[in-house]
Amino acid sequence: MERLQANLRYLRRNTSLAIGLGILVVLVLFTLTGYIIIDPKVDPYPLAGPASSPPTLNYCPRSDPDCEKTEPKAYIFGTDAQGRDLYGVAVAGTWMTIQIGLMAGLIGLGVGAFLGFTSAFYGGWYDLVVRWMVDVMLTVPGLLLLVVIASSLGDQTISVTGMGFIIASISWRGPARVIRSQVLSMREQSYVMMARLNGMSGMGIIFREMMPNLLPYLGASLVGAVTAAIFASMGLAALGLGPLREPTLGVTIYWVINQSAFLRGLWWWGAVPIGIVALIFVMLFLISIGLDEVANPRVRRAE
């Protein structure tokens, strides 16, 4: 209880972390309540509403335009040209997008941390190869690499999980470099020497001694990796290389561009995914600033 109070007091000083976490809570609540209300197998997909009628922002199902008195607010967020209920898209799409980001971010952090730890710890040829690999891969723009991978796979095979794996194939680069440089400076510290003298194995030192000290960095890297992964998934989807059958936020934006929703005056169609995407990125940005402050106490009171 006291721990909780101390954490709350810290959050009051670290406003960006507080606001970021606040947005996270709101998004989680939105998704959770949404999944109770919608039918995730039907509502976010085409023809959730009758396709014969035009996209609408009426608060009524199209079958029953005069519902105001009996059953108001059937489509709070409106529907799109394929009859999707945009509220369902918002709920399911937010979760799918976060899923892709978390999956690619976690895999990327895992692989990157492993490469960073081992290459900095063991050094030698192995380190040289890993360093060159990371250097070369960081020069190649990730989006383009993903374009080559995704376009040769073809849209038939891409699912939400597949998308996560495709993006994971590049998301290890950043964490690998950051963690390697951190471990390099940590390797020479006395407690590592001590563990070595005690005859601890290399992997034991890495996981039991060094990893706990790097937890704040790992947390910050995870947020960074998730941000980059969501960024990449949005970009790929906007190019038409996303899981086109699933209502992720990126794919919804692809349809908005593809069907020129804005030029037809259907502003709500674009506003829903764009608003949520902006909210997600602002949230990740604020959390990463806040975590930076936790990880580098020196920045804490810079002013």
């Binding site: 020069t139 723009p141 690499l145 374009v147 080559v148 934006i253 908005v256 804005f262 674009g270």
Partner: protein, 335 residues
């Protein structure tokens, strides 16, 4: 001489390694997937006539041997590398008589023009705003209100572009909705055409600048906060220097150097940075070309563009690394 030959050689080796990796990935990734572009193309043409003719498999095989796809993989790889070395990227499938190079060269000036301008603008505006945010004597507007605008930096540029299209171009009809120049204009070096191009570039440029400024401002603010604690700042203040002199000559000038490093890095992404904004705006640059090639399954075009961009980035980074010691006298690559 600020750097040794061994450094230049090493750096040049990295450049070649990057280009080679780019080309190799381009070759092997498509080969590892079950997709067969040749069969897909033939199937597409065949299904246009309504039925799949007898002997379709023989036709696919005939084409495969014609394109050399029945040779062993390493032979294909060698001839592919030879083509890349000679700069032969092949023909576009969907715009057949045109080569991949011709189409890329058509788009390149648009992309480079747009991104060069916006990168520099975002750098200048961002650095200035960041400096003002950290300056204790600046007005409250800069110290408290502007930082909230940094949020734009967190959102992808093309999402900002979409929003701008709706409000500025569609709702308020202030600027053209998309494209590089108006319908009915003929490209040429006359005043009317140049003005038309400029008015079409404002929206994509605005989106890129809005998305790019935040990062520069954060960097500059951090640097200036550190510099304010330096002794020479206290000394300057004690001497009674005017505020603006202290700000520009003592603060900003010293804080700018790390920013310039960042600028060099940002400039190397000048070809690839705006792919999605171009797509959203229908701007006739490399990005739109890439998106169209993807939707038309024009493989040679896709791989050609990716290869050209990777090579471009690698070469710019190499040049930047070579120039950098001249910008910052403290850096030398000796030994």
């Amino acid at each position: 001489m600020r750097y040794s030959w061994s450094f230049v050689l090493k750096r040049f080796g990295l450049l070649l390694l990057i280009i080679w990796s780019g080309a190799t990935l381009n070759f092997f990734i498509p080969k590892m997937t079950p997709r067969n572009p040749l069969r897909e193309k033939l199937l597409q043409e065949a299904s246009r006539s309504g039925y799949i003719p007898p002997g379709f498999e023989e036709m696919v095989q005939a084409y495969e041997s014609k394109f050399g796809l029945d040779r062993p993989l390493w032979q294909q790889y060698m001839s592919y590398m030879g083509d890349m070395l000679r700069g032969d990227l092949g023909f576009s499938i969907s715009n057949y008589p045109k080569t991949v190079w011709e189409l890329i060269l058509e788009g390149l000036p648009w992309t480079v023009g747009l991104l060069l301008t916006t990168t520099l603008l975002a750098f200048l505006i961002g650095s200035l705003l960041g400096a003002l945010m950290a300056w204790p004597k600046a007005s409250n507007l800069f110290r408290y209100i502007l930082p909230s605008l940094l949020i734009f930096g967190a959102v992808p540029a093309y999402v900002i572009a979409l929003t701008l299209i709706y409000f500025v171009a569609f709702r308020w009809k202030l600027l053209p909705i998309g494209g590089g120049y108006g319908i009915g204009m003929f490209p040429g070096m006359n005043m009317a055409f140049i003005l038309d191009v400029l008015s079409h570039s404002i929206l994509p440029a605005l989106a890129l600048v809005l998305a790019g400024t935040g990062g520069w401002a954060i960097g500059m603010r951090g640097m200036l906060v550190t510099i304010q604690g330096e002794d020479y700042m206290t000394f300057g203040e004690a001497k009674g220097l005017k505020d603006w002199r202290l700000f520009y000559r003592y603060g900003v000038r010293n804080a700018l150097l790390p920013q310039v490093t960042g600028l060099a890095l940002a400039l190397s992404f000048i070809v690839s940075g705006s792919v999605l904004v171009e797509l959203v705006m229908g701007y006739p640059g490399i990005g739109t070309l890439l998106a169209r090639s993807i939707s038309q399954l024009d493989y040679f075009m896709i791989y050609g563009i990716v290869f050209v961009i990777i090579t471009g980035i690698a070469i710019t980074m190499f040049i930047m690394d070579m120039i950098y010691p001249f910008l910052d006298p403290r850096i030398s690559y000796e030994g």
